[in-house]
């Protein structure tokens, strides 16, 4: 066997960069950038360049494992599949189908997500299907659907380079979405103004023209203050508002509460600066807003997104090139997992489970009776373990590290009667499983991922899964068939054909059409070229709707006992729960251990030096980690990434939920910090 080069898609973030994997004698030995890729055009970030490194790690799961007491025992597939099916069926028979929960995966392909939700919905007549989008962009889906009619990035990544003003709120794109950051620089080189709203002095901030270091959790006051000024000075796009919007009167009335002065007081930013920023954003010919977890991971996450949509619509910066609203999606296929209906309230294509016409359509197509009752979310499925939910099937998700208030999550994972975890490593979550199914990584399967700009892209199989591990698609087909469903698909392409029939927005998606550059949905029929930007002459919901963003301060603010703001997030070399990146030597060498960032003034006060151990405590628990002293965080704030199993940031985070989208408030909680004395 010689050397082969296989084009495929990066398994890390939602940018969806193009990779070329070099395969030598069946082993993935190197990764190169794809010069012809429409988004990444021959560049990659450090994670993309290292994408092959974890694939052949000795920790990969190579056989199904069955729990025997405290240990796992390897078993063959022809025992594993019947056992999984029996246990799930038993549970459903005893407690009803709604006692079974499924967590699908933003790391898996569209076809796998489609099959997963189909399996849960058909076999158990339950809508208890969700995935980690709940923990990142659930507010986006809800708020953008309400205001615009579609919960996805309105424009394309390449559009950014042509914007005149780019407003970044709560996104550290330079570390989390570096290739998108490249487009921002292109815009700056052409004269665009970059304005960044972030309590931290991130790498994005260092390249901004204007930085607004707002108090954590005061995005709504800032955005409302800006809107108030815009309306007062007549800087908004009156024609656009008249022709295409509804709800302006109500919004305007609400804005009367938000004088620039009040806004300034709440967010700790100079009045003049707020006015100036409002003017720049409103008056630019094309303005884009980019936001990320800094907006969504709050108990008022949905309202935050509403405020962003209101601002963009008020100024007419939606529905045209180079402008729009850019929620940056985290996981490589979190967009796709949502699109495919791995959500408790919708079928593929965001079609409501409670709508009887739609229920009918799916019942006919699938030939099974389906439930019209929306299911439970990630946090509920885990939280109700052993109570309402007796058995669960978790595919390639790691709630033991990713969900808030870890101690409770760990308790819950033990409480299931039967837990099936399907993954590529024995993750922190898989350790709690009764049955572990060894799946495939991105290089070992075909299918599609949808990136953050709605682009369906082809994943091409480069090598075989290790040992007895199987392609995820094959595992789902085996389980489905064993459950008596007609899951006799030969290839993921056939699944895509079925999806196209059932979800109008993806009606024109076919594997052969995706070969060259992929296709951006909506793509309703096989001649449709895909959609570069949404809401062109008409919003998806018809008219755009201004919705009032009610401000609720963070649920837990610093007080005497817990005097610091604690915020969590990602850093450039690692990804999410670190399952892949920490097994990648080049990435792990960059950062081998957990750390927390502390402002120099606080460090003096706490008598902590750089590199010393500190203990961070919140009302949920405490972790010991290493101090990094830096002005990137303001005085009174601490930041810690959540990639590290030995210092789980989510031991600390507050599980309070946004009432609408049910996202937990990862971004703010109150904490205490102490120097950890070396000798105890």
């Amino acid at each position: 066997m010689g050397t082969k080069f296989i084009k495929t898609i990066c398994p890390y973030c939602g940018t969806g960069c193009g990779l070329i994997i070099k395969v030598k004698d069946g082993v993935a030995v190197a990764t190169y950038p794809d010069r012809e890729h429409p988004v990444s055009r021959g560049s990659l970030c450090i994670k993309g360049w290292s994408a092959h490194e974890f694939i052949h790690h000795p920790d990969r799961l190579t056989s199904p494992l069955l729990r025997k007491g405290d240990a796992f025992q390897e078993i063959p597939w022809d025992e594993a599949i019947p056992m999984a099916v029996d246990k799930l069926r038993e549970t459903a028979a005893k407690y009803g189908g709604d006692a079974v929960g499924g967590l699908s995966s933003a790391k898996c392909t569209n076809e796998e997500n489609y099959l997963f939700q189909k399996l849960m919905r058909m076999a158990f007549k339950t809508n208890n299907v969700d995935h980690c989008a709940r923990l990142c962009h659930a507010p986006t889906t809800v708020a953008m659907a309400q205001t615009l009619g579609s919960g996805a990035m309105t424009n394309s990544i390449s559009d950014l380079a042509g914007a005149e003003c780019i407003l970044v709120i709560g996104s550290n794109a330079a570390e989390s979405h570096p290739i998108i950051m490249g487009e921002i620089y292109k815009a700056i080189d052409r004269g665009a103004t970059l304005i960044v709203v972030d309590p931290r002095k991130t790498a994005v901030v260092q390249n901004a023209k204007i930085h607004l270091p707002i108090n954590p959790g005061t995005d709504i006051p800032l955005l409302c203050g800006m809107m108030k000024h815009i309306v007062d000075e007549n800087l908004h796009d009156e024609e656009f508002v008249k022709a295409r919007m509804e709800g302006f009167e109500e919004l305007n009335e609400f804005l009367q509460l938000w004088s620039v002065k009040r806004a300034a007081g709440e967010c700790g930013i100079d009045e003049e600066l707020i006015r100036n920023v409002a003017k720049i954003y409103a008056k630019a010919k094309e303005s884009a807003i980019i936001y990320c977890m800094g907006i969504t991971q709050h108990a008022c996450g949905t309202a935050n997104v509403l405020a962003i949509c209101d601002l963009a619509m008020l100024c007419g910066h939606v529905g045209k090139e180079h402008s729009g609203i850019y929620p940056l999606r985290g996981q490589n296929n979190v967009q796709g997992a949502c699109d495919m209906g791995a959500l408790p309230n919708v079928y593929p294509g965001y079609q409501s489970v409670s709508d009887s016409a739609i229920q009918d359509k799916f019942q006919k197509a699938w030939g099974a009776e389906l439930s019209d009752k929306p299911g439970l979310t990630v946090t509920e499925i885990i939280g109700l373990a052993g109570k309402d939910i007796r058995a669960a099937y978790i595919m390639a998700e790691n709630p033991a590290l990713s969900d808030p208030d870890t101690s409770h999550v760990l308790e819950s994972l033990k409480a299931f009667d039967f837990l099936i975890v399907h993954d590529i490593f024995l993750t922190e979550t898989a350790r709690f499983a009764n049955l572990v199914l060894p799946g495939s990584c991105f290089a070992e399967k075909s299918g599609t991922f949808t990136n953050t700009e709605r682009r369906f892209q082809l994943l091409r199989k480069a090598i075989d899964p290790p040992g007895n591990a199987k392609e995820d698609f094959a595992i789902l087909c085996l389980l489905g068939s064993a459950l008596g469903l007609d899951f006799s698909y030969n290839h993921p392409g056939e699944v895509m054909e079925e999806i196209a029939l059932l979800a109008p927005a993806y009606g024109g998606i076919r594997f052969d059409r995706l070969e060259r550059k992929g296709l951006q949905w909506p793509c309703p029929d096989s001649d449709h070229p895909g959609t570069q930007y949404l809401h062109k002459d008409r919003f998806t919901r018809g008219r755009g709707l201004f919705v009032i963003p009610e401000h609720t301060p963070p649920k837990e603010l610093p007080d005497d006992d817990y005097p610091y703001y604690l915020s969590t997030g990602r850093m450039f070399a690692h990804y999410h729960t670190g399952t892949m990146t920490r097994r990648s030597p080049f990435l792990n060498r960059e950062v081998e251990e957990a750390y927390a960032e502390i402002n120099p003034e606080d460090a003096i006060h706490l008598d902590v030096k750089d590199g010393e151990k500190i203990k961070i405590t919140t009302r949920r628990g405490s972790i010991i980690t290493t101090a990094r002293i830096t002005k990137r965080v303001s005085k009174g704030c601490i930041f810690t990434p959540f990639h590290f199993t030995e210092a789980r940031a989510n031991m600390l985070t507050n599980p309070v939920l946004d009432p609408v989208s049910k996202i937990p408030e990862f971004k703010v909680c109150a904490a205490d910090v102490r120097k950890e004395s070396q000798d105890d």
Partner: protein
């Protein structure tokens, strides 16, 4: 006119295919590394092993293959021979790699192709053709120092230029793409992975230690292919960083990387043995000259 350009390109492509076919048929090499266009118009590097596969060969876009050739040869049996379809910069990079014992000369064959005038203008290339040209016509190159953007970064007010550089270098996200894609950047262990110079886990990478170490390590090997700059996700004009050093070597020592396979870099050789023309010794070297009996 347009038709003529196209047909020139077609002629070059057909000729390259013929040469490559002949090489495979006569078993002069075990594989030919080039670009393959699939049924769906997807272009990617490919090792052609059978003559009939070569119908899918294409020459565009510019896609540098020198570093891939090296990695293929290194991971293949000792007697594996590879032919590489290469542009001017690719050929020069391969020559540097053989000079530095990274590739065995005997295992490598090149099929040289010429770049178009347009390509040369995009690359700021002054020599858009290989020394061993097998297909295509030589087009005129450009002098990079006439380019306005280059001049902004390299000529004139030091303070302003420093600011300009600092401004772009602080964008670096430390992807290591510049290092990874540079065909002549091959030291092991890499200084950019040395804690003494480059702090782990910190972005942006420090200006002096990261970027200047990289640039200086390549000062006499850089063939100005632009791969570093093309790989940079944040549009740092990394090629410009190399141009001044290339120019100095050329002016002071009449040396250019990748041209003469026999000539050592002046940095590696003994100053005193360098040809007289155009060279300039630093002051302190006079004492050495005396010792050496000059």
């Amino acid at each position: 006119m347009v038709v003529a350009v196209w047909s020139d390109k077609l002629i070059m492509l057909e000729k390259t295919k013929d040469i490559a076919k002949q090489i495979l048929e006569e078993k002069k090499s075990d594989g030919v590394l080039g670009l393959m266009k699939s049924q769906w118009d997807i272009v990617q590097p490919h090792v052609f092993e059978k003559p009939e596969e070569l119908d899918a060969l294409v020459l565009e876009p510019k896609w540098l293959l020198a570093k891939l050739s090296m990695s293929i040869l290194r991971s293949s049996p000792e007697d594996y021979r590879l032919a590489v379809i290469c542009r001017g910069c690719d050929e020069r990079a391969l020559i540097e790699l053989t000079k530095r014992n990274q590739i065995e000369k005997e295992n490598l064959l090149t099929i040289g192709i010429a770049c178009s005038k347009e390509q040369a203008a995009i690359c700021l290339c002054d020599r858009p053709y290989p020394a061993k040209l097998d297909a295509g016509e030589i087009a005129s190159g450009v002098d990079p120092f006439q380019d306005e953007r280059v001049r902004e970064f390299l000529i004139g007010n030091d303070k302003k230029r420093m600011e300009k550089w600092a401004n772009v270098l602080k964008r670096c996200i430390k992807c290591y793409g510049c290092r990874n894609s540079c065909p002549v950047c091959v030291c092991e262990p890499c200084k950019l992975e040395d804690d003494v110079w480059v702090q782990r886990g910190a972005v942006p990478a420090e200006m002096i230690t990261f970027h200047l170490i990289r640039a200086f390590h390549l000062s006499d090997t850089c063939v100005a292919c632009g791969a570093c700059q093309e790989a940079c996700p944040v549009n740092i004009p990394l090629l410009y960083l190399q141009l001044s050093m290339r120019k100095t070597l050329n002016e002071k020592y009449g040396y250019e990387a990748g041209l003469d396979p026999e000539r050592k870099s002046p940095i590696l050789s003994d100053f005193l043995k360098e040809p007289e023309t155009g060279r300039e010794y630093p002051e302190w070297i006079n004492s050495l000259r005396e010792k050496d009996g000059h």
